[in-house]
């Protein structure tokens, strides 16, 4: 089981956290076209490599944070960004 480095609680079992998926910018709801909005809802880059993604420390500090993970090796790249906007994709 993956160890996820929570910025507050330190490395924790991934089951202690909720996976929030790829960091993804939220389009302006008043101007977004259906294609843009649905890309935000459903389309993910899903790279084999470095990815900035969101985690919620559900059983610990209750912080949402974003961090970069290599999806091919499961290596995390420091530092996690506390309270990072979902749109903070690297």
């Amino acid at each position: 089981m993956l160890l996820v480095p929570c910025p507050n609680c330190g490395p924790r079992n991934s089951t202690d956290l909720r996976y929030g998926g790829e960091s993804h910018a939220r389009p302006d709801p008043n101007t977004a076209s259906p294609a843009e909005w649905r890309a935000y809802l459903y389309l993910r880059d899903n790279p084999a490599g470095w990815l900035r993604e969101n985690w919620y420390c559900a059983s610990g500090c209750r912080r949402w944070f974003s961090i970069e993970r290599n999806t091919a090796t499961n290596e995390f790249r420091d530092p996690p960004l506390p309270g990072n906007k979902r749109g903070g994709a690297a």
Binding site: N8, G10, P11, N13, N30, D78, G83, K85
Partner: protein, 949 residues
């Protein structure tokens, strides 16, 4: 073959003073403490232990250890016990499996005459068509299914779980593994040493060499004096990300099995080597055994494996077996040396004879054929860490290639050396494991913001400076010039594999699935390399070119009980729970909560609420305390409706949609003070909504000043409902005017109830009656409940449960998120589309809801069956006429004791949503009934006069 018990051996593990009596197929037997079931039976001269899976061929001891495919037995109600490993206990009732009517005369052995028809893919090819015959095929095939019998009356046994965080876990307790554990422990690491066997020592246990025994004694003494935690009869079953390990402990004093979940900083894999059978005609006959089996039988249990033996030896272990056999008086008829080109072609003879036919066609009379043809490297744990082992033809086995640096191999898995060399490599591995574990520990601690400060810099990642082990040359011996069994668990011969390859299943992974080779109880420990070799031969390629299958968890099987284990899931009850339990409650589990479903008669509970007054414990209702100047903005963002102008003391209903416009949750939120609000959520949505709120505040609107505190369990919640609820409340409330004008519907007041200050009281209700929802500081919940019961005794107060509430909310037509809506139900489909305020600047799901406004969507509607006595099942389909075209479904249905008729909510296509529309409901029985969509959601009191009262 005739096995028998011999005189005391210096290495034996049996206590000849402790005689254990047991039964084998109903007959009385005895063995000694320390015997396995198989060794006791072998000592008593038993020859046949099981019948093979497909051909029902008689099978005897092959390896005499855990992996022996022929020693699966039933012990009492425990099926598929490995008699080669399970220790004998007094009074055991042991029976053979897969034999009918008896082990020695098995009628299905006729299958072996049909062998050439039962070839690879036989079941796939034969039983495919015609499809209508499948039920018949299945019944017949089921009688041929191997394995033991499951007793449905077996009592529920206790299984345990344990979590641990050792620095180093060493999997395997041979000399290298023990040295690794000792060295790591000396270097300051916390170490867990896991031995698959009943005692540590690996192959030293059954070596008669004096030097080996001296080393074993020395290692055991050192272990006893160390801080190493030693687990015997336990197996590291799996290695997962970041060295998360599953370890099954089979000899726990209380639990049947205990699953240990260990987060190791480094893992040392030292499983040793597993002896590989050799493929030739008749290689599965009783009397053909591995050299390891011979050595274990002689040295551990003092059993002479046969009277006259032929030994086929290609390595030192085979030579050592010759010496062991001679010592107990087995006559050595011949030693065929595999290193100099000698081979075994087949076996002949009947009953107890196993005459060996050698390469030149000569037959050597014997009752025992001992085979030492090479080794399988059980690279499972390395496979699970991502390593792909590489074949070395010179050594005739696979070796690790490039495992991650927190997984280290030692012992026979890593290479060959004399005992001293293995021990030195083990110790060096242990030191390296400890050094790397220290670096991991430092990193974990220094990266934890609130951990104790850690001294110094993170230690450098220790380089691997171990002197590598050598590789002893070994002939590549897989198959003789005849065909024989490759997989004895599954009855797969080399001929089957060649046929599979010729049919096109010529990749190892495909051939494995097609033939089921390596998929039986031995799980490839004995047969993988021979399978690969057979495929390679059929393809005319080398083993390196063909590659091997990937070993996945578990390394050794564990029971489902161990996996299910002891549950750590908490159960939640409200502070009022003791009262429910004392009052004939029927409990229903809802998520983690145990909730009152009813108290005997839900219909009577409903009538009492409609006529008098009732109390329901709604503590699990989600409650979030929201404070700060920006709460109205937050509410406007999360709910579809408007919140900027909610006055202090007012309550409003809100619906939440996700960003895709699908209904997420609903509930009421009240304004308790200038900057203080209380949000209620559905009981099942309490956790999810909290997370949702935090997500928006932390990631999208971090500049907003809102503080969120979940208070679901800080308050006990009681809904007081019914026409006499105000009268009841007036007897227990202080500090609040309960008059309808002073405290109207959809308002909230703080009050002292039954002497308890700090209670919140909402004028809302799910039941449609005049009601007061009380939120009482949790510790006083039971007191307030009892006070209400007492105060209302003249008014006919009674409790009601979830079932009664469900009936009443259905009478009122209130939908339940997740019951009447689903993962595709957009906001407007609930019928509350007018709540959605698209003129707000922003809110969750706004674009989707705006686009949905122009579309015709399925709608939640209230439906009444034409026959008032028929209650359609929930999820019954609404169809078009006599067709099976689905137009909707019933989402909730009950018999209403208030209206004396069946009532429903359902979802239907937009063009059926108008009041008065006739629909057809297809019941589970196949019957179709007529029903009518009614004008509004409420079956009862649509104007809402009762709850406003």
């Amino acid at each position: 073959m005739t096995m028998s018990r011999q005189g005391v051996q210096p290495t034996e593990v049996i206590d000849r003073a402790a005689k254990l009596r047991f039964r084998w197929n109903g007959k009385r037997f005895s063995g000694f403490e320390g015997d396995t079931i198989a060794s006791a039976l072998a000592a008593a001269g038993e020859q046949i232990f099981s019948r093979s899976m497909k051909y029902h061929r008689p099978r005897g001891i092959l390896t005499a250890d855990y992996w022996d495919p022929n020693l699966m037995v039933q012990v009492g109600d425990d099926p598929n016990v490995r008699a080669g490993h399970r220790l004998l206990e007094s009074g055991m009732d042991v029976r053979s499996q897969n034999a009918w009517p008896s082990l020695n005369r098995d009628i299905k052995a006729a299958n072996s005459l049909l062998g050439r028809f039962l070839t690879a893919g036989f079941y796939y090819k034969t039983f495919m068509r015609p499809q209508w015959l499948w039920p018949t095929y299945e019944r017949v095939l089921a009688t041929f299914a191997p394995g033991g019998k499951i007793d449905l009356d077996t009592p529920h046994a206790y299984h345990d779980k344990r979590y641990t965080h050792p620095d180093v876990v060493v999997a395997g307790a041979g000399p290298a593994g023990i040295e690794a554990a000792l060295a790591a422990s000396s270097a300051g690491a916390s170490v867990m040493l896991v031995s698959h066997e009943h005692s540590v020592g690996g192959h030293l246990r059954y070596s008669s060499a004096a030097a080996d025994q001296a080393a074993l004694a020395e290692l055991r003494t050192a272990l006893d004096a160390s801080d190493v935690e030693v687990l015997t009869d336990s197996t590291v079953t799996g290695r997962y990300e970041d060295n998360w390990l599953g370890i099954v402990q089979r000899n726990h004093p209380i639990a049947v099995e205990r699953l240990i979940k260990a987060r190791a900083k480094t893992l040392v894999a030292a499983p040793g080597l597993i002896e590989r059978p050799y493929v030739f005609e008749g290689n599965d006959r009783p009397g053909v055994i591995t050299s390891g089996a011979a050595r274990r039988l002689v040295n551990l249990w003092g059993v002479k494996p046969g009277e006259r033996a032929v030994v086929f030896s290609a390595n030192a272990e085979g030579d050592a077996a010759v010496a062991d056999l001679e010592r107990v008086g087995t006559e050595i008829a011949a030693v065929i040396d595999g290193r100099t080109g000698g081979s075994i072609s087949s076996t002949r003879g009947s009953s107890r004879a196993v005459d060996a036919v050698v390469a030149d066609g000569a037959s050597i009379g014997a009752d025992l054929l001992v085979v030492a043809a090479g080794w399988t490297a059980p690279t499972s744990l390395l496979n699970m860490a991502g390593d792909r082992p590489v074949y070395d033809p010179a050594a005739a086995r696979f070796f690790p290639s490039d495992p991650p640096s927190n997984v280290l191999a030692t012992g026979g898995l890593a290479g060959d050396a004399g005992l001293d060399g293995l021990r030195q490599h083990g110790a060096a591995t242990g030191r390296l494991a400890a050094a790397r574990a220290a670096a991991v520990r430092h990193r974990l601690q220094s990266r934890t913001a609130r951990a104790l400060p850690v001294d110094g810099d993170e230690p450098a990642w220790a380089p691997d400076e171990r002197a590598p082990l050598g590789r002893d040359p070994h002939p590549e011996l897989y198959r003789a010039d005849t065909h024989g069994m490759v997989d004895m668990s599954e009855d797969i011969s080399s001929k089957d594999l060649v046929a599979a390859a010729h049919e096109g299943y010529d990749s190892v992974e495909l051939a494995k699935r097609y033939t089921t080779a390596t998929m039986g109880p031995s799980q490839g420990k004995l047969e993988t390399v021979n399978t690969v070799a057979a495929i390679a031969e059929a393809r005319g390629e080398t083993i390196s070119q063909v590659g091997t299958t990937v070993w996945r968890p578990p390394y050794a099987p564990l029971t489902l009980g161990a996996l299910a284990g002891r549950m750590f899931e908490p159960v939640r009850v409200s502070s009022i729970h003791p009262w429910h339990e004392a009052n004939n409650v029927s409990i229903i589990q809802a998520g983690q909560w145990l909730r009152p479903d009813h108290y005997g008669d839900p219909a009577a509970e409903v009538r009492n609420v409609r006529e008098n007054v009732g109390l329901i414990d709604v503590t699990p209702l989600g409650k979030l305390d929201l404070r700060g100047p920006d709460v109205p903005k937050l509410l406007s963002l999360l709910y579809v409706n408007k919140w900027m102008k909610l006055g202090v003391g007012r309550v409003r209903y809100g619906m939440m949609c996700a960003e895709d416009g699908v209904v997420l949750d609903d509930g009421v939120t009240g304004r308790l003070g200038e900057d203080h609000y209380m949000m209620s959520t559905t009981s099942s949505g309490a956790g999810g909504v909290w997370e949702w709120v935090e997500n928006w505040l932390q990631t999208e609107r971090p500049d907003w000043q809102v503080h969120v505190t979940p208070v679901t369990t800080a308050y006990a919640s009681i809904n007081v409902a019914g026409p006499k609820s105000r009268e009841l409340m007036s007897g227990v409330c202080e500090g609040v005017d309960l008059d309808a004008e002073a405290f109207p519907y959809m308002t909230v007041r703080e009050a002292t109830v039954a002497g308890v200050a700090g209670c919140f009281m909402w004028r809302i209700g799910f039941t449609g009656e005049l009601s007061f929802e009380l939120h009482v500081p949790a510790g006083h919940g039971l007191h307030v409940w009892e006070a209400l019961m007492e105060a209302g005794s003249d008014l006919g107060v009674g409790p009601f449960g979830l079932e009664g509430q469900r009936v009443m909310r259905l009478e009122k037509g209130h939908f339940i998120v997740g019951q009447d809506t689903d993962g595709l139900t957009l906001g407007p489909s609930t019928g509350l589309g007018s709540l959605i305020k698209l003129d707000k600047d922003d809110f969750a799901g706004k674009p989707e809801l705006a686009w949905a406004a122009d579309r015709s969507l399925p709608m939640v509607v209230a439906i009444q069956p034409d026959d008032p006595d028929v209650v359609p099942e929930e999820a019954a389909q609404i169809v078009r006429g006599d067709t099976n075209e689905i137009l909707g479904r019933i989402t909730s249905s009950r018999y209403s004791p208030t209206l004396n008729r069946s009532i429903c909510l359902g979802q239907v296509e937009a063009d059926l949503a108008a009041g008065g529309t006739k629909v057809t409901v297809l019941l589970e029985s196949g019957e179709r009934i007529g029903a009518t969509v009614i004008d509004h959601h409420a079956h009862f009191d649509p104007a809402g006069e009762r709850l406003r009262g």
